[in-house]
Symmetry: D2
Subunit: 343 residues, 4 copies
Amino acid sequence: MVKVSVIGATGYAGAELMRLLVSHKEVELVHAASKSFAGKKLSEVYPSFTGCDIVLEEMDLDTISKDSDIVLTCLPHGASASAVPALLEGGARVIDLSGDFRYRDAGVYETWYKQTHTAKEWLKNSVYGMPEIYRDQIAAAKLIGNPGCYTTCSILALYPLMKSGVIEPKGIIIDAKSGVSGAGRSEKLANAFCEVDESVKAYGVGTHRHTSEIEQELSLAAGEDVVLSFTPHLLPIKRGIISTIYAMPKDGIAEADIKEAYAMYKDEPFVKIYDGTLPEIKHVTGSNNCAIGFVLDKRAGRLVIVSCLDNLIKGAAGQAVQNMNILCGFDESEGLNGTGWYL
Amino acid sequence: MVKVSVIGATGYAGAELMRLLVSHKEVELVHAASKSFAGKKLSEVYPSFTGCDIVLEEMDLDTISKDSDIVLTCLPHGASASAVPALLEGGARVIDLSGDFRYRDAGVYETWYKQTHTAKEWLKNSVYGMPEIYRDQIAAAKLIGNPGCYTTCSILALYPLMKSGVIEPKGIIIDAKSGVSGAGRSEKLANAFCEVDESVKAYGVGTHRHTSEIEQELSLAAGEDVVLSFTPHLLPIKRGIISTIYAMPKDGIAEADIKEAYAMYKDEPFVKIYDGTLPEIKHVTGSNNCAIGFVLDKRAGRLVIVSCLDNLIKGAAGQAVQNMNILCGFDESEGLNGTGWYL
Amino acid sequence: MVKVSVIGATGYAGAELMRLLVSHKEVELVHAASKSFAGKKLSEVYPSFTGCDIVLEEMDLDTISKDSDIVLTCLPHGASASAVPALLEGGARVIDLSGDFRYRDAGVYETWYKQTHTAKEWLKNSVYGMPEIYRDQIAAAKLIGNPGCYTTCSILALYPLMKSGVIEPKGIIIDAKSGVSGAGRSEKLANAFCEVDESVKAYGVGTHRHTSEIEQELSLAAGEDVVLSFTPHLLPIKRGIISTIYAMPKDGIAEADIKEAYAMYKDEPFVKIYDGTLPEIKHVTGSNNCAIGFVLDKRAGRLVIVSCLDNLIKGAAGQAVQNMNILCGFDESEGLNGTGWYL
Amino acid sequence: MVKVSVIGATGYAGAELMRLLVSHKEVELVHAASKSFAGKKLSEVYPSFTGCDIVLEEMDLDTISKDSDIVLTCLPHGASASAVPALLEGGARVIDLSGDFRYRDAGVYETWYKQTHTAKEWLKNSVYGMPEIYRDQIAAAKLIGNPGCYTTCSILALYPLMKSGVIEPKGIIIDAKSGVSGAGRSEKLANAFCEVDESVKAYGVGTHRHTSEIEQELSLAAGEDVVLSFTPHLLPIKRGIISTIYAMPKDGIAEADIKEAYAMYKDEPFVKIYDGTLPEIKHVTGSNNCAIGFVLDKRAGRLVIVSCLDNLIKGAAGQAVQNMNILCGFDESEGLNGTGWYL
């Protein structure tokens, strides 16, 4: 049993993490901190936890780091950069779900997040928590920057193609659509039911932070600077992301080459490459899977890739648990092997 | 390990049962039969099962009963009555999810289902599969009639009140609202997205079959014939039922008496009695829980009870697994102890 | 052309009123006041008004009353009681959409709204704005208290039955379900998309203010004090209410008697009595109609009535326009004769 | 008054057309034909028409053409090609909402629709019914091929840019998302509520018929063959399309050049060009508007255009009425000037 604490347990990602952790056989939950609800029972904030006796606490970094082998932080960006160093110095290993420890270059972070990074010195020790690419480094990490939801969906779809050189690194377009839980639990009018229901909108066109995270990893894969177009959209659903990605296949590339590139995932427990069909959001909802399919449109000279995941699971809490499993030497699927819900 | 087969594995209840069974640690799935999709992989019909190698078969009753300790039948009513006797005679124990084996009196069935019961002789051996009431009989049963979704939601809310005599047995009104998955997977126009979305309708007013099932069990609890009003409604959601129930408290009954009646559930793993608040559908979605709250409206002289469950889990597949666990002597919560999804 | 102003033009009811008024052939819009958005164009707040040049103003009661023949006030309750007297004294006629001028007895208001009524002296001059009951008084009114959404749906269904004495005045139960726009445009977490979607909840059980408004009108119809149970529910839809109402038919009452009672609506432009079928929310969405159907369940001894309307139209803005048309001597359907949307 | 008939009045586009026509002041409806529901009242099929006495008829082409000045045909493709010639020969003018009369080259139709065109000889007399491009020809037409929903949304966004040469004609990507009503009223499992709700899928990637219609019109604008990528997606909403379009601006093109190109719409009643913001589906739902906004992403070298319309109105029935208004010399906005619903 590993001693685990969660900071920021009552946002949507935090609550999903709690849901996964309470069923995890190797985890002893020691602290669950919530700024807004300290003193309340988790089941008062999320009645789906009825029967579960967890009481939310104030965030006491000393106590938490001392009592925990692993701390999962679900704080807003900026707040993580403030809290994480103390946890690490206190001896805990940290998996951070914010954007604060995902970057190799603090300058990129500061440009896209438009704020100073207050824990730059820790970036060099941080591992980007995408097991399909960095499994070995994750196993040895003290600090893991858990990837973003849109970014996981995009990088998993594009990394093998970029790495194997079957697509042009230029001109990639990612048209991504996400459920509302990706915006977190807050009282913004923009996320009110009547504003979201029966509508779809694009937002953050050309400026969404996840662009820089995707470009970072794809540039490493390509061995050259990748600049791409990323357009997120808000869908009237709770969970799930579907990204439709447009790339130019290199000359002479056939379907078989694409399949061969994706064969890098053949032993991955949570990446599902479709053969001849395309994934839909409901194929992955409730699971830690990322499902990927593609169409090579020779007429238009485009490779169209469709990638789906559950933003709260493979896009946040599930991937964090997967990273924790690797870090602790557990079966990588422990606590994550449920089938998706479909309904 | 117990050898389990499912007949009718590709309707919504059947697929949910498959989802629960593939994660159940004590179950070896031996056959999954589907009339519509025999020969296909389950993952072709429900891609959420991607990575799961189950192949759907024709319904061969001899082979299935010979190979299985337990068979779960998710057939339309009438079809179950035809298939189940052969399974029982072949030596399997059966948990039937249709209405065919829920009645003590074939005449009631024939009145409400408007068809002849073709396996009347088995009714006397069938146990009504509601563990909170019939746990001991379930443990010893050869044939279990797994309760309906609306009925579970209503009976769990009313049985303790009726049994303890805190409410009048007359004049009960159940205003129930269900998600669309309760109507099964079919191509009816009435269930098309554009017909259901952004609307609600009442249906089967005064004639819905579940009325008779609720009345059967409440009459037994009351020791007299209970006749009630039951109105189902179709909601634009996938899963979940909320029943708002109106009863007349007997003279002098106070809140404490209601709570005391519900105390019969204090050790039940899957019934959650709220104290001072009311459950919402999302509190139970994805779990095997039935959550119940109430308001004693003294001004109007009414007890208003709100009862929620997930129609595919506690209202169908989850309750079937719970019954199977009891039948097999497993921990009753095995495979069912996940927290609800909330999102 | 009549000169019309709207105060509170940017809440959901206010915006719906603006939508109806800009298409109304007899209306000249002179002022549209909005506390939150004064100085902005209406189309900036609701881009569906793109191309419409209305600029929102501060609420200047003197100017508004001087410039307007009719003022429609869409303010929170309490705020209306403060603003309306000045408008009336300034010479305008007022249709108020809040609860402030719907009551005959200020004490009832103060009990249910839990606040002092600051314009009690105007209640005796106020007409309850339900044309089907008070058309003549409306035509002559200086001040109209426009009915609530739930109340319109309930009163229209029950008034003829109560008036004609075909049902018992005691023991009535109204199980009402409403779309989220009924809660207004605000940043409450309870109305956030992820909290509402795929769920339903009951709220305000036994305490919802509309109970008292329904009881007031039904008591007048019955000639005795009516006390009833009213339970509102929140649906994951934008617009629309469906009320399922349970009443006890008096001895010997047959379907024909119910139909005869409802015949009082035979010339009403906006009440649709169904014959043998039941209305669904989508039958009325987008229209000013209230659609009513019923089932006489002799087995259970209940009359079950289903009543549907669009809460923003017949339940608020549309009824206000209907009242305005009567007040001004226009065709009562002017600006309201569109067919419902269905989709 | 013009005498108008509708053939195919009970599909979703047909019903929307009926909704618009019953409120149209210059229209006398003479026949409404429906294969599935002949003999029934329209209000039995769509109860939102309650109070409207239209009786559906069999499709009798002779009678219809003889009695009507204008016939609007909402038939499946292929069926229109069979029926329309008789209507034209009988003397009626025809606005056809299928794909059958949208093409200049029957070969393109036959390639994309995978069937023989049985009325090729009429294509040369048919006018493509997009008023913003072909207003003058529409006014004089005997036969109008009313554009598709996706195509209207895409062509209106791209035509001015292509015509004015501010974007490269190559490499355009249209990522389009549509509500379910676009798939028509039918009993397909793929459109069942539980299959669509809380999910999104791409379909017809590289093969959707509307691709060819968009390419036809943009090629004419560009003066060269345009080949593009078009990916439709199914959204869990009833109405509305949002298309996110990616084009490469030509060297030196600035925002002002884009705005100037779109200035061609400055007098259009139904095209709304946003200045600095982006449209959302809910901005146009219920209106005949197409709303267009853009972001020039200099970093990535892309022009991102977002275009929204209501697929049943500007994408089908509303555009047909607009064409009819032009054909008849009515005010082009007659029957179409309602503000969008927002809610």
